[in-house]
């Protein structure tokens, strides 16, 4: 699955990172607690979250994740967008809620990578 596929599946809008739409994503993680994200390293490449503070971008950066999807139409401020650009992380937003967004991606074949 590519970032372009995610945009289509989640009816998402791109906030930054237009140049990376064909990046391949292997697995995903949905969380609002950053230490839960950091607890499982399994090459997740996309993070779905309802938070929009800079720590979301830093957490994704530490995990080498390529894409963050803000659910429930949440909009990050300029500082967060600048940080994501600097780290070459694609930011998307979708009006969908967390459960639905994760469910749609799972249905389309994306997996957690976190499962034991």
């Amino acid at each position: 699955m590519t970032i372009a596929d995610i945009i289509r599946i989640l009816n998402a809008q791109i906030i930054c990172g237009e140049d990376h739409l064909d990046t391949e994503l292997h697995s995903a993680c949905g969380a609002d607690m950053m230490s839960d994200v950091l607890a499982f390293v399994k090459d997740q490449s996309v993070l779905l979250t309802g938070l929009v503070n800079p720590q979301v971008v830093r957490t994704a950066d530490m995990m080498d994740m390529r894409c963050i999807v803000f659910v429930r139409g949440k909009e990050p401020d300029d500082m967060v967008v600048d940080l994501a650009k600097e780290r070459e992380i694609v930011l998307l937003k979708t009006p969908l809620r967390m459960f639905t967004a994760c469910g749609l991606l799972y249905e389309s074949g994306l997996r957690g990578g976190c499962e034991k």
Partner: protein, 140 residues
């Protein structure tokens, strides 16, 4: 080869900047050319410890030592100290207030994560004086 030493000051009053030092060390280790999984382990452990410093201890200082064999990081703060380290090391134990939780921290997973990703970890803490967290990750 002599060890490379790095130093970072972590301001305690600005949550938005917490993690800057970890980001800097991560990019530096990448430039030197360490393996991605080694860099990731160091980055995650340092990020967790740096965030702890900011949310629980008003910031502090970080010293790193880099050799081809291992990367060691020491984080010192002058915060309140940890009353019961064994308890703090348990998954899910957190004293983080609600405002920290609403920012995405306070799951009580930080210290266990540091332990999980590092080859050595030590905590020295004195109540009312501060806490020093040391860890190292083997690079080979």
């Amino acid at each position: 080869m002599e060890a490379i030493k790095v130093h970072y000051d972590v301001p305690g009053d600005d949550f938005t900047r917490a993690g800057e030092a970890s980001g800097m060390l991560k990019r530096y280790l990448k430039k030197i050319g360490f393996a991605p999984d080694v860099i990731r382990k160091v980055s995650i452990a340092m990020y967790e410890a740096e965030i702890n410093m900011v949310i629980h201890a008003h910031g502090g200082e970080i010293d790193g030592e880099i050799t081809p064999e291992k990367i060691s990081v020491t984080l010192r703060d002058q915060g309140p100290g940890i009353p019961d380290v064994d308890l703090a090391m348990q998954e899910g134990y957190s004293t983080a207030p609600d405002n920290v939780r609403s920012l995405g921290f306070g799951a009580g997973m930080g210290l266990p994560n540091i332990k999980k990703y590092t080859d050595e970890m030590k905590i020295e803490t004195v109540l009312g004086k501060g806490t020093t967290v040391y860890f190292s990750v083997n690079a080979q």
